[in-house]
């Protein structure tokens, strides 16, 4: 029997754009609502930035960090989160697809499951809300902290943002996978993810060793923003870490994705042997 793939790359790309177009069109059906959510998210995130600014404005610097540098560090969180929810929102939301039966429908389609999950969801509101905050922070700080935007640096920056998005997507997907075992993890996930993210708003050197280790090896936000910032800022405190960490983000993203993907495969297998309705 021939084992030729059902679709070539070209056909998959067309399908991807078709799916994305429909997702966007669905979102635009509720323009008013979505605009409001976007503004709400923007305000919520912006307030946290302003509060941080007001507090930091009373100091010239903390532990050798000037506040432009702190906001540059912060901007990674927003931009990578924005990329994550724009392109991988399905990895975050697929628990609901399982509960609603949408996942059963995906199983009856000739397309790959991961493909369908990723292309069926775009969170435009959160993407824009976080994205705009990120862009504001980036444009305010990227040119005042002494970074030369050489082609090499620009490429590093883009790779880092994508890696950051994949790291965060993997964390969410890991949590969602539990729904294959009909275990709801939403609250636990939100608690771990958003608190880790809050910690990461500041350089990890501010924290005691145990929290540093957590942010490096358990919920590795350090690779989303701290080490990438260090690549650009070259602070002296980096001496206390291995210099290789500066380049490790893509590897961390790849390893996390591979591990979570294996877990997901197990979940799918378990799902198709039980179904969730029973």
């Amino acid at each position: 029997m021939e084992k030729k793939p059902l679709y070539n790359i070209f056909e998959l790309l067309i399908l991807m754009t078709k799916y994305i177009k429909l997702s966007l069109k669905s979102i635009l059906e509720y323009k008013f609502d979505r605009t409001f959510i976007t503004i709400a998210i923007f305000c919520r995130e912006m307030i946290s930035v302003v509060v941080m600014y007001l507090i930091l404005a009373r100091f010239v610097h903390i532990k050798g960090w000037e506040y432009d540098e702190m906001f540059f560090l912060y901007s990674f969180l927003f931009l990578s989160y924005s990329i994550f929810v724009l392109f991988f929102a399905g990895m975050r939301d697929f628990a609901s697809m399982i509960y609603s039966g949408e996942f059963d429908r995906y199983l009856t389609r000739p397309l790959g499951l991961m493909f369908q999950i990723i292309v069926s969801r775009i969170d435009l509101s959160a993407g824009l809300g976080h994205g705009i905050v990120g862009i504001i922070l980036f444009t305010k700080t990227a040119f005042s902290v002494g970074i030369i935007w050489s082609p090499k640096n620009i490429i590093y920056y883009i790779v880092i943002l994508i890696s950051g998005a994949i790291i965060q997507a993997s964390i969410f997907m890991f949590a969602s996978c539990f729904s294959f075992w009909t275990i709801k993890t939403e609250n636990l996930r939100n608690m771990l993810f958003f608190n880790a993210r809050r910690f990461s708003g500041y350089p990890i050197s501010f924290y005691p060793g145990i929290i540093q280790k957590l942010l490096m090896f358990v919920i590795p936000f350090a690779f989303v923003n701290y080490f990438p910032s260090q690549f650009f800022l070259n602070k002296a405190e980096m001496n206390s870490f291995w210099s290789g960490y500066l380049y490790l983000s893509p590897a961390v993203a790849a390893i996390m994705f591979v591990l979570v993907y294996a877990f997901w495969k197990q979940g799918v297998k378990r799902y198709s042997s039980t179904g969730t309705s029973m």
Partner: protein
């Protein structure tokens, strides 16, 4: 070779046993307890190309589980399924390319978007050639009148419209096999009839193999030649609808409206099952008591205003089967 071959299909579910109370749920979290439930127990059947087969059975009989295994959603615990030489679980995508699936209770259309958008997407998903797409759209419009609501968002459609659109969507790519899971659920009489008519037409014109699950016996009677009755995970009947009627539908009821009160009627082989005013319901076996003779006898003795002969409905027969009133023996079952 049959198009669909199912051999000794078994499906076990592992059920999480939940205990009562808070303490119980904590205990269940730490030491989960499982119970096995056999949803499908050794089912075998084969379906030829172009057949229309109805799957019926009471709720929880294992119909949906069987359909889920055939469509590749669930993997069998044991036994084998071959659909045109492919295994739905191992060759999920390739198998899916040739299937159409209609879930009556769940739409496959994009809820917030006009119907036409989903159709356009499916055109690319199933790689439907332009020409096929156009001719199918024209055909479906002719039979289901879908153009009238093609540009309306799905959430605004009536259930009947949505179902027609859903069925059309499942058939766009000319699938070889279609699974209908309760395709007429919740529809009014006219809409049901329209759906059945369409299904019959497609089967005849395109030779599509079709499998239904339904609770509506009319669906089966009006569309299928063959039906498979499943109960408690096993096949209890596999054969023609007519055969079931012939074997179990031998009783007739004669409803007689007499012109006066006639008191007790005693005719051998005839039982009075109901009486109301001057009306009587007389039940008899059609082989034992020829109906013409019975009517002649009655008209000779009494004055009669009105007469009707009732055949038992398939519904009634099925009801009796579910309730265990009718037992099948080897002679009745084609495959047991």
């Amino acid at each position: 070779m049959p198009l669909i071959e199912v051999n000794n299909l078994v499906k076990d579910y592992k059920l999480n046993v939940r205990k009562k109370g808070l303490l119980g749920s904590i205990q269940g979290l730490i030491v989960p307890e499982y119970k096995m439930k056999r949803a499908v127990d050794n089912i075998s059947f084969s379906i030829e190309k172009g057949e229309m087969v109805g799957f019926i059975g009471p709720n929880g009989a294992g119909k949906s589980t069987t359909v889920k295994m055939l469509t590749g959603i669930l993997v069998p615990t044991s036994g084998s399924i071959s659909i045109g030489g492919l295994s739905p679980s191992r060759d999920r995508k390739r198998n899916a390319m040739r299937l159409g699936v209609v879930f009556g209770q769940r739409s496959q259309l994009w809820w917030d978007l006009p119907v036409v958008d989903t159709f356009e997407l499916l055109r690319y998903v199933y790689k439907i050639p332009e020409k096929t797409f156009k001719s199918n759209m024209a055909l479906f419009n002719e039979l289901l009148e879908i153009n009238a609501f093609m540009s309306q968002p799905v959430r605004q459609l009536s259930l009947g419209q949505r179902m027609r659109a859903d069925i059309a969507a499942a058939l766009l790519h000319d699938p070889e096999i279609i699974f209908f899971d309760e395709p007429t659920i919740g529809l009014d009489v006219i809409a049901k009839e329209k759906v059945r008519e369409f299904i019959r037409f497609i089967n005849k014109e395109k030779g599509t193999t079709m499998l239904f699950t339904t609770h509506d016996m009319q669906d089966i009677e009006k569309t299928c030649q063959r039906m498979i009755i499943i109960d408690q995970g096993t096949t209890i009947y596999d054969g023609t609808v007519q055969h079931i009627k012939d074997s179990f539908g031998t009783t007739r009821t004669l409803v007689v409206d007499f012109s006066e009160n006639v008191g007790k009627i005693e005719i051998p082989g005839v039982e009075v099952v109901e009486e109301k005013d001057r009306k009587k319901w007389l039940r008899f076996q059609k082989e034992q008591v020829p109906v013409s003779g019975l009517i002649y006898e009655l008209t000779q003795k009494y004055g009669i205003v009105d007469l009707t002969v009732q055949e038992p409905e398939i519904e009634g027969i099925i009801r009796e089967i579910y309730q265990g009133g009718i037992k099948f023996d080897e002679s009745v079952c084609r495959v047991c």
